[in-house]
């Protein structure tokens, strides 16, 4: 397993290089530059600014410079937020997303799996149809609808929770964003869990367990859950990255200082370094969590040997 992990990590290097190169080329190919503003700059001043950021060099030189820079762990200066380094932006924003994302993920896993299992056990009853119907809604209703509705109910009308802002981790500010973020994931997990549980419960080894007279509790908790988790694990690899790297929608509505906004805002403002920095982070996390998902397979399924 160690050798497998090492091999996968080594294999990630060329993948990352491709991601970085593609992002670099695409960003620079997009029309407009970071210092195009309606208040157009006199050419000499624009030149001097671009010189400061080496944007006047040929693209391959900028690319080479960038690669050397990131090898030193430096993502460079932001063009949009003058005087701020991309490393600092990510260091400040990422914990916010991880904080809210972890809570949302925990909610999604706890409630999603529980609902999914219950629905599978009461297949084709009201306890199946009702939660699955709600889950379908949860998947279909986008977070930009759920979030304002939550704000309307809990902040504007009831005054129980704040409608937004980030107060250095004050838990009351985490609740609504985490709920809004968790809703679609909970629904997805529930449906996934129900599907695989139904399948597992119908399989021969569960029938054998029933025949042996094992209580339902033991059958489900001991024998059925583990194999039923497999599809969930492969879903979770990329989903975890998605949930902890922030959502532009949630961050915008709740006014949170996460990196999801940097990504979109940076792309719109041609803030090359910010977009590249966040892309590298996303890429690395996705590779890492896919690896973790594969390792988890081996732990869950004795038939898989790495």
């Amino acid at each position: 397993m160690l050798r497998y992990t090492l091999r996968r990590l080594l294999g990630a290097i060329p993948t990352m290089l491709v991601i970085i190169s593609l992002a670099f080329v695409l960003l620079h190919a997009a029309p407009g530059g970071p210092f195009d503003a309606q208040k157009a700059l006199p050419p000499e001043i624009k030149k001097s600014i671009e010189h400061t950021y080496h944007l006047d060099e040929p693209l391959y030189e900028q690319y080479g410079r960038y690669l050397v820079q990131i090898l030193h762990g430096d993502f460079g200066p932001s063009y949009q937020y003058r005087g701020t380094r991309v490393n600092d932006l990510i260091a400040e924003g990422f914990p916010v997303d991880v904080g809210i994302g972890s809570i949302a993920l925990a909610l999604a896993l706890i409630f999603g799996t529980a609902i999914g299992i219950l629905a599978a056990l009461r297949q084709n009853s009201v306890w199946d149809y009702l939660p699955m119907g709600i889950a379908m809604l949860g998947i279909s209703i986008p977070s930009f609808v759920i979030a304002p509705v939550l704000i309307l109910i809990f902040a504007v009308t009831l005054h129980w929770l704040p409608a937004g802002a980030w107060s250095g981790g004050d838990p009351s500010h985490l609740v609504l964003p985490a709920l809004a973020l968790a809703a679609p994931y909970t629904a997805y997990v529930a449906r996934l869990m129900r599907g695989s549980m139904v399948e597992v419960l119908g399989s021969p080894f569960i029938r054998t367990a029933h025949a042996k007279g094992l209580p339902l509790r033991t059958i489900v908790l001991r024998h059925a859950i583990k194999p039923a988790l497999m599809p969930l694990v492969s879903f979770l690899g990329p989903a975890v990255v998605g949930i902890i790297t922030g959502s532009i929608v949630i961050e915008t509505i709740f006014g949170l200082p996460g990196i999801g906004r940097y990504f979109v805002d940076g792309a719109l403002n041609r803030d090359y370094t910010v977009v590249l920095g966040v892309t590298i982070l996303y890429g690395a996390l996705i590779l890492l969590f896919n690896l973790l998902a594969d390792l988890a397979y081996a732990l869950l399924d004795p038939r898989i040997r790495l």
Partner: protein, 559 residues
């Protein structure tokens, strides 16, 4: 200054709109249910609340790009820097010029030499005195090519500033000198009656050299920054919040009631409205136009809107057909639009129709074309007549593409409406084409679009900031407009130290633009705010700048 709210420029509404759009439009406008029928009553007393409650929660339209006054761009930065730094002069509640670090000033007869007398009790937030040398240091830093400030050119009225910013002269040649620590003499290139207004801007603030020398780029961080305004920086989280505390060393600290100001960057106007209704903001900086009626019903006089120093326009490329040398067509296009319908139904009555470029300005008589006074039918008939005279008819209609920036559903509705007006009133086919803001800017700089959205918010309350848009060689003269008579009037106005004379000349210049149909004015930008009744000292003003130092939180119950 430019406008449609450029993301990288001084105005930051566009990112707001773009973001709302990216959040799939729906988050840009909640459904009707998001507004309560009636706001909970707020009981307001007459006495100021205790110091512990003198906390101001303000919305800014996005995270400032930087809090470095030399590098700052955008409205959000200006709002925060208005509280952090104080220039030679500042503005009062109504947006008028008020003494700042300078208590008095004299202007030479030719208008070229300005002498400022600085107060001796002005101090930095560390207790050091603010001197004339601090201004010279700050200004030189803004124009120095090494600083790479996007606002270096704003200092152009000062002798040698332009040559320094383009690297042709050393920085110590800047036309400002300090004969003693409390006197600053500034030499100008031309009489610049709006120079005082310029001096209120952050890029002309004094700077504290020791802090910048010690911390480099990091001097703008809380704990490092030394400022001279009514407030000092306590915390700054990009896209999160910026917290300021009262500066005990400010010369007028005795009259500053607010103890703490928290700025929340919120670029989605609907999110700001929710936060306001939830009692988390004391006032907001924009609401969605289509919410006007409902907000007014629920909140009454907490809804405040007024004129802003900006105009929404459409521009023509005057260098290529069909608009080149075709004033009849250009005027027909302008006359065919029913501005009142747009402002009433799409802007929900909060914007004012514009028939000229320069928004209402004290002392200035706007040049309104005669056709603006015609009835709708007469105006349409005149438009059709000109359209036909320009060589177009139902059989040979005008076909043209109008380029505008992607910025949310309300702009799209507005563009659809005017395209329909051209079709119905003239028979012209105008195709709408939207592109990303940065793409539009690049194309405009390359003079590609032949018919385009344009909007402008004045940098300072003077007609020149608008007139420049049609000056030959000016970077934002996107339509390549040129008229020798117009140029001559501008040159005469710029050389005159007499403001009444200048305004008269600008009025004539504006008339030339109208007669020529140089652009299509649409409406003046409004300011739109929600303001809590317990906030005393807040005043809507045409600059849309409100300094926290003038405000007081009154005793109140509820929020």
């Amino acid at each position: 200054m430019f406008s449609l709210h450029a993301p990288a420029g001084r105005r930051a509404l566009l990112p707001a709109l773009l973001l709302s759009l990216l959040a799939f439009a729906a988050c840009g406008r909640h459904d009707d249910a998001s507004l309560p029928q009636a706001a909970p009553a707020i009981k307001v007393g007459t006495q100021p609340a205790p110091d512990a409650e003198q906390v101001l929660s303000r919305q800014i339209l996005g995270s400032p790009r930087t809090l470095d006054p030399s590098l700052s761009t955008g409205i959000p930065a200006q709002h925060v820097l208005d509280d952090l730094f104080e220039g030679l002069v500042t503005i009062d509640e109504a947006g008028h010029i008020a003494p700042g670090v300078a208590t008095s000033w004299e202007i030479s007869a030719d208008g070229l030499t300005w002498t400022f007398h600085l107060r001796d009790d002005a101090q930095w937030s560390n207790g050091q005195p603010v001197t004339a040398q601090d201004f010279i240091y700050g200004w030189r830093r803004t124009v120095a090519p090494a600083t790479a400030s996007e606002y270096a050119q704003a200092l152009a009225p000062i002798v040698n500033a332009y040559d320094i910013s383009t690297g042709k002269k050393p920085v110590d040649q800047l036309g400002a000198e300090a004969p003693d620590p409390h006197t600053l003499v500034v030499h100008l290139v031309a009489p610049t009656p709006y120079f005082l207004e310029l001096l209120t801007m952050a890029y002309l603030a004094p700077l504290y050299k020791p802090a910048i020398d010690q911390w480099g780029d990091a001097w703008i961080q809380a704990g490092h920054m030394i400022s001279n305004g009514p407030f000092l920086l306590s915390e700054s989280v990009i896209n999160g919040h910026i917290t300021l505390l009262k500066n005990p060393h400010y010369w007028d600290a005795a009259n500053v009631r607010i103890q703490k100001v928290v700025y929340y960057p919120i670029n989605d106007p609907s999110a700001a409205t929710s936060r306001y209704l939830a009692g988390e903001l004391d006032w907001t900086n924009r609401f969605v136009a289509s919410d006007t009626e409902r907000l007014t019903k629920a909140l009454g006089d907490q809804v405040v809107h007024g004129p802003y120093f900006g105009t929404v326009m459409l521009g023509f490329n005057n260098a290529v057909p069909p608009f080149k040398d075709n004033p009849k067509l250009r005027r027909a296009m302008s006359m065919a639009i029913d501005r009142k319908i747009i402002t009433r139904y799409i802007e929900h009555g909060i914007a004012t129709p514009a028939y000229n470029m320069i928004p209402p300005l004290a002392g200035y008589t706007p040049a309104i074309p005669d056709w603006a006074k015609l009835s709708d039918d007469d105006r349409h008939a005149l438009a059709r007549k000109l359209y036909h005279e320009a060589g177009y008819s139902d059989k040979h209609p005008l076909n043209v593409v109008l380029t505008y920036p992607t910025s949310g559903p309300s702009v799209r509705r507005f563009m659809d409406a005017i395209a329909a007006m051209w079709r119905i009133n003239l028979g012209a086919n105008v195709q709408l084409y939207d592109v990303q803001w940065k793409v539009l800017l690049q194309r405009l700089q390359m003079k590609q679009p032949i018919f385009f959205w344009n909007a402008w918010i004045g940098d300072y309350p003077d007609p020149f900031t608008f007139m420049q848009l049609f000056q030959k060689g000016f970077a934002q003269n996107y339509g390549d407009y040129y008229d020798p008579k117009f140029e001559a009037l501008l040159a005469r106005a710029q050389a005159s130290p007499d403001n009444a004379e200048r305004y008269r000349l600008f009025h004539q210049a504006e008339q030339i633009l109208n007669d020529d149909g140089a652009y299509i004015p649409f409406y003046y930008y409004p300011t739109t705010h929600l303001v809590k009744p317990y906030l005393k000292g807040w005043k809507d003003n045409v600059l849309d700048r409100n300094l926290s130092r003038y405000m007081v939180v009154l005793q109140h119950e509820g929020h």
